[in-house]
């Protein structure tokens, strides 16, 4: 932990030591400028949150800055918008992304449009909403949803999804500092699974910039969040069969880095998008449409989407629902052999 004498900092780090519990533990860094302040609030964040992401923050920075809210998502987000409108950095936590829907109106109608409709007189750019999302193996209908697509449809918002602890720290710091309202989806699957050496200093990663995490020449795979680990496994399997895959982590879904994906598809001629959310209307559809527009003549095969099924997130059928490594591998081969 680094504490600057004239600024508060709360750092994001991961449990690095092997002897400690392998949990993704997020403390996040917020710089307080001369006149504005930062706050972290949500259900149960005071004692550390249900995933222990905010452990120790209240003790370090005081209960007036890290505090619990009652059970009222719409209230939490509206409250955050108000705080942000006064120039503060409001980091609101929605306990599970499945519960974000009461706040949907506030996010879409208020947060996203504030700057626009006031002609830049006001804004709530200091608002960041963090929420755990995605499958966790046993979450069933209301602890596993991936609602990112609903928010990608809203100009004025940014949607950011990290794939690992190192990425999460840099992206979260960037999201908090970004002068626009950001929704930060954290893959809850990775909270307990992911162990990484995270640099202790202050660093940010650029928003709206995708990252090529694996170079290849035969097919481009695009994904985000926990799904990338699955896609990586599929790439490894595919390479055993002589197919060289290029894997891109989108990192920011809105606004997304079209150029890097376009450049990659121009190289490989094939695209596959994979996400946990149901396929119809998922964000993969936007990527498929955009890339088809941009790279139509270069494409060697139709854009493949390997996604969750068009069902509510099921209870016992989760293994069937999920876009697994084998489904991705199947699609890679079909695309290459088109």
């Amino acid at each position: 932990m680094v504490c600057n004498t004239c600024l508060f900092s709360v750092w994001q780090s991961c449990m690095m030591k092997a002897c400690r519990m392998r949990k993704l533990n997020l403390f996040y860094g917020i710089r307080v400028r001369a006149k504005s302040w930062s706050y972290v609030f949500g259900e149960d964040v005071g004692f550390g949150g249900v995933f222990r992401c905010t452990t120790g923050l209240a003790d370090t920075f005081g209960k007036h800055r890290v505090f619990n809210t009652p059970l009222c998502e719409q209230g939490i987000v509206g409250f955050g918008i108000g705080l942000a409108a006064m120039g503060n950095r409001a980091v609101a936590e929605i306990q599970f992304a499945d519960y974000i829907f009461p706040a949907f109106d506030q996010i879409v109608n208020e947060a996203a449009k504030f700057r626009y409709r006031s002609g830049n007189l006001f804004n709530c750019g200091g608002l960041t909403i963090r929420t755990p999302y995605g499958a966790v193996g046993h979450g069933a209908l209301y602890h596993s949803q991936s609602p990112e697509a609903y928010f990608c449809h809203v100009p004025g918002l940014k949607v950011v999804i990290p794939r690992s602890p190192t990425q999460a720290k840099g992206l979260l710091l960037a999201a908090i500092r970004d002068p626009n309202p950001v929704i930060f989806f954290e893959p809850k699957w990775l909270y307990r699974l992911s162990v990484e050496d995270v640099p202790e200093g202050d660093y940010t990663l650029p928003l709206s910039q995708a990252e090529v995490i694996r170079e290849g020449g035969d097919i481009t795979l695009v994904g985000w969040g926990a799904q990338l680990a699955i896609m990586e496994e599929a790439c490894v399997e595919a390479s055993k069969e002589g197919i060289s895959c290029e894997l891109i982590d989108l990192r920011t879904l809105l606004p997304w880095d079209k150029e890097i994906v376009e450049a990659s598809v121009n190289k490989t001629g094939r695209l596959l998008v994979s996400h946990e959310a149901p396929i119809t209307g998922g964000f993969g559809a936007e990527i498929a449409a955009s890339i088809t527009e941009r790279c139509f003549l270069r494409l060697e095969s139709p854009v493949a989407r390997v996604c969750g099924l068009d069902t509510p997130f099921p209870l016992v059928f989760e293994p069937f629902y999920m876009p697994t490594k084998n489904k991705i591998l199947d699609a890679i081969k079909a695309s290459v052999n088109f």
């Binding site: 009652p70 059970l71 829907f101 046993h138 069933a140 209908l141 099924l309 099921p314 199947d330």
Partner: protein, 418 residues
């Protein structure tokens, strides 16, 4: 004979106000009509315990010898001049039934705990032990025509409302033989025949849904109510207030039952709410607060509340002061935000099953050994049901895509889109 005077009066008043909309007409007439109908002495075909009198007991009940029971904790009232009685009657059969029903729920929850820890039940599991009196008392006071809707802590209510152990365990384990076909799990138990509209995962949903149910009851001129159950944590959700306003505005026969177990997950009520009472949150809806660990208090309060609604006075809030022994869910030990002493203390002082047990023993309706063997029998029954559920098959593969739409127009494919 013509129309009852009350309806003629209503029509005249409506004409005066120039109201043309069918909806208003219906609601006004039905309110007038129900007022006319709830005349003392009239048999409604079910046992209605009107406050102060035992006039409506069924003959069968009157034949058995009844004993008086005190309801020691005084009711707290909001916008009500008189509450339910602080005493009631019961019989040996009734006491034994309450004991059995509550002990069954208790044993079921303990077994579910064990099954969850051995990974037979997966997903989320929210246990109801400690709150049995609310479920049993509520169901006892209602008829099969009344609708009940609750949140995710629904095992107890499912059992009390006529669900079987086998179907319950099956659903918890995600088996085909579960009440929801294994598709819902712990939080989604339902019973159509008994109008148990279940088990909802999102906090606070029960209130507006309950308002809709109660509107249907009133519109169809049924002599029945809807009971919407939510907790102290949910009480700060916006939709609760929306539902309360709707119900009060339209005089809906809605009983809003708050199961106040004092903790919303790990947050104590005083940390989440400016006002830690829930029965008087809204000044225009009357309410009462009762001891939710006393099955007789719950029964009397719900009878009273039902009468309130049936007389056309609109919604009412019943806050049950209750307690859950387990944590919020199976991932919550339940002891990081409250002490073991507190939990033990409630078990000793206020346990709902003990309350009934003491009465049974005091009246000599059964000996301690009788109750012990009843407990053993219940335990065997529960364990057998769990074992049977374990052997049951999982849902068929085509169940994955079934019931998304009515005629299943959903896209069905397992691989990828070309």
């Amino acid at each position: 004979m013509g129309w009852p005077r009350s309806i003629v009066g209503a029509l005249q008043r409506l004409n005066q106000r120039g109201l043309a909309e069918r909806g208003d007409l219906f609601l006004s007439i039905s309110r007038e009509y129900t007022l006319q109908r709830s005349v003392p002495g009239e048999r409604h075909g079910y046992i209605l315990r009107s406050f102060g009198a035992n006039a409506y007991r069924s003959e069968a009940q009157e034949r058995k010898s009844s004993i008086p029971v005190e309801i020691p904790v005084p009711y707290q009232l909001h916008k009500l001049s008189e509450g339910p009685p602080q005493h009631t009657q019961t019989t040996q059969d009734e006491l034994m039934k309450y004991y059995r029903d509550m002990a069954l729920i208790r044993r079921m929850e303990i077994t579910a705990d064990i099954l969850f820890k051995s990974q037979q039940i997966r997903g989320f599991c929210h246990l109801y032990d400690g709150q049995e009196a609310v479920a049993v008392g509520l169901v006892e006071a209602l008829t099969d025509d009344d609708s009940i809707i609750t949140a995710y802590r629904d095992h107890g209510l499912y059992l009390a409302r006529g669900g079987t152990l086998f179907e319950c365990f099956s659903e918890l384990m995600g088996k085909r033989t579960g009440c929801s076909g294994g598709k819902g799990g712990s939080m989604h138990l339902y019973n159509v025949k008994k109008r148990f509209y279940g088990g909802w995962g999102i906090v606070g949903t029960s209130a507006p849904l309950g308002a809709g149910l109660s509107f249907a009851h009133k519109y169809l001129n049924k002599k029945s109510v809807a009971v919407a159950i939510y907790g102290d944590g949910a009480a700060n959700q916006g939709q609760i207030y929306e539902a309360k306003n709707l119900a009060a505005l339209w005089d809906l026969p809605l009983i809003l039952l708050v199961e106040n177990n004092h903790f919303g997950m790990g947050t104590a009520e005083w940390r989440a709410s400016k006002q830690i009472t829930f029965y008087d949150r809204v000044h225009y809806i009357p309410g009462l607060k009762i001891d939710g660990m006393d099955v007789f208090a719950v029964r009397e309060a719900i009878c009273y509340a039902k009468e309130h609604c049936m007389s056309g006075k609109g919604p009412i809030v019943v806050e049950c002061d209750t307690y859950r022994y387990h944590g919020h869910s199976m991932s919550d030990p339940g002891s990081t935000y409250r002490t073991h002493d507190e939990i033990k203390g409630i078990r000793q002082e206020r346990d709902p099953i003990n309350h009934v047990r003491k009465l049974i023993l005091k009246e000599g309706f059964a000996t301690a050994d009788d109750l012990k063997s009843m407990d053993k029998e219940i335990r065997k029954e529960v364990e057998e049901a769990a074992a049977k559920a374990k052997e049951a098959p999982q849902p068929a593969k085509d169940a994955l895509f079934a019931h998304i739409y009515k005629n299943d127009a959903a896209l069905q494919f397992h691989g990828f889109v070309r």
